[in-house]
Symmetry: C2
């Protein structure tokens, strides 16, 4: 099938560009002596996870148990859960999954550590970098929790709020401060006689800085495989990643000069990070026009049924809207990959 | 199963409340001598469409062909497509669907009218109320398009931008102006000898006003079955609709005083219309904390693994994130209904 014959809106993946991104990150972490455990909440795809692991990743991260279950079903055998699992039903599912694959999970509360005792998953102490999302909030709490657990798998330290600081210098300065705190926690753990085999964290906005700072042993970057408007606006440093993920749309109305309406709206793009960027097929800017449509406003616009290609503002929640990637090589559709764990948010 | 044992985040539907909303709208349109054709882009569910039709709706609206195909597969036999279908592939699918069910579709361009000649669907002239999303933009263009079509199924006039004006008086004033323009178009069509069997439009924000204004013959409201934060903030007039749609979530972290973290973020709520409202289980406000989590900030907050119930800010794109509704009666889960057309945006 030709790309131009895809029903739209279509989630389109340039697999060659993605494979180059996978290779570039793999080369980078190898050159720095680090482990890579890419976050699969970005792609939710067994095919992509397998490619990352084939390129040298030690395993993957998942945000939710349902995501991990879906990717385990696709043959992924080493998964780290980056969010606590605390409900009774969740813990039962965690135990079942730990019987099938090598599994680790973060913990940030002693009650949860007790509930997970003997669960079969390796337990990581989650450290709050100051965002107050998850994680223990002091070195003393980290030591107490690690002692409650016994032998920990490692610690997790994910500076999420800092990933999208656009200036590289400013991002580096903030992360250097955050990493000073991480050193303090690790020193307290060492003083407490706690062995920390793995220090996992980092993202596409911080991995190069994290490598320079030299405290993390394992990087969790996810978005680098696809890229999006948010990360394109950041000076990332390290290898240069290509745009590999797109949404193709069609013009459905052309009645007003200077604008056309396309068939991609709030059900085609997650709207938390602004608007998509027009990549090809038009000269103009995008504006949301409700659940089902958007406007392209500009001067060089396609006609009725014309095609345009856009870059999502934020890749992870946009991918979660689609059942499949249409995999293209230039203008030809060469494959269709399921978004295996789409909607698996529990 | 008990509601409290659902894996979270869970899309939860109080079916009794929804059925009362369906009945209230059905009674209202019957008392005004109008037809009701509820928009299924809200619910994307065969079960709910069938309940609306059983209560007296003449059929349903769909926004996209894929949505209509999915609901036709569920036995819905009368569908109006509220967006133009213009691509070659789309027109082929439209013809196939028109061979299976009673189908109508809007048209806003003479090229599209020619392409749809003999397609088997009834063609409606789409009128632009000034939003410049779709629709012809003048009475003359409406007449010319209607003549190009021949016998039209009717006209569509959907004032989308006006639905969420919070003040009833202000919304009524704006819609009265918009409806004056609609009368002008209808007069031009009558002068041109064009018969207009149906004038379809309106939404949950405007249906009561549209009924008073007396020009629309068929109402397309959709969100009234569920309600959401946006419409709860509007003085709607007409029957009072109950909140029937919720997202239940669980607390996964409690380490910072005055706030807890829950397992529902940007993949659990569409973010285009602000934040969810806390409905039960906590006293506090919600803040997005990324793709997978949110914070509840307040004083009376649940403990680890505690449950909370939230109202989505915008129901349509939130429903589109979930595979199923968990149907509850008080605290008991009584059924699971597929979101049949989830992700069917093409």
């Amino acid at each position: 099938m030709l790309r131009d014959d895809l029903p739209t809106p279509a989630l389109v993946l340039d697999a060659a560009a993605m494979d180059r991104n996978i290779a570039a990150m793999a080369d980078f972490v190898r050159s720095r002596g680090l482990a890579l455990r890419p976050h699969a909440k970005t792609h939710k795809s067994g095919e992509i996870a397998r490619r990352q692991i084939a390129a040298g990743a030690v395993g993957i991260c998942c945000a939710k148990l349902g995501e991990a279950e879906a990717l385990a079903d696709e043959g992924v055998e080493d998964i780290h859960l980056t969010s606590p699992v605390v409900t009774r039903g969740g813990i039962a599912r965690l135990k079942a999954l730990a019987g099938r694959i090598r599994l680790s999970v973060v913990v940030d509360h002693p009650d949860n550590a007790r509930a997970l005792d003997g669960c079969g998953a390796s337990l990581f102490v989650d450290l709050d970098p100051g965002a107050h999302r998850t994680g223990v909030t002091s070195p003393d709490a980290a030591v107490a929790l690690a002692k409650a657990i016994g032998a920990i798998g490692g610690v997790q330290y994910y500076c999420g709020s800092e990933q999208h600081i656009q200036s590289a210098a400013e991002r580096r300065a903030v992360l250097a401060d955050k990493t000073d705190y991480l050193r303090t926690v690790l020193a307290a753990l060492a003083d407490g006689g706690i062995e920390v085999p793995v220090v996992t964290g980092g993202g596409t906005g911080s991995f190069a800085i994290d490598a320079d700072l030299g405290v993390l042993t394992e990087l969790q970057a996810g978005s680098y495989i696809f890229m999006d408007r948010e990360y394109r606006d950041c000076e990332l440093g390290g290898p240069v990643f290509e745009q590999a993920l797109f949404v193709d749309a069609s013009v459905i109305s052309i009645n007003t000069p200077g604008r056309v309406t396309i068939d991609a709206g709030l059900k085609a793009f997650a709207a938390d990070a602004g608007v998509p960027v027009v990549w090809a097929g038009a000269e103009g800017r995008y504006a949301f026009m409700g659940d089902e449509q958007g406007a392209l406003i500009g001067s060089d616009l396609p006609g009725l049924a014309g095609r345009v290609t856009l870059v999502p503002p934020h890749c992870d929640p946009t991918v979660n809207l689609y059942d499949a990637y249409w995999v293209v090589a230039r203008d030809v559709v060469v494959d269709r990959w399921a978004v295996t764990a789409r909607g698996r948010s529990t």
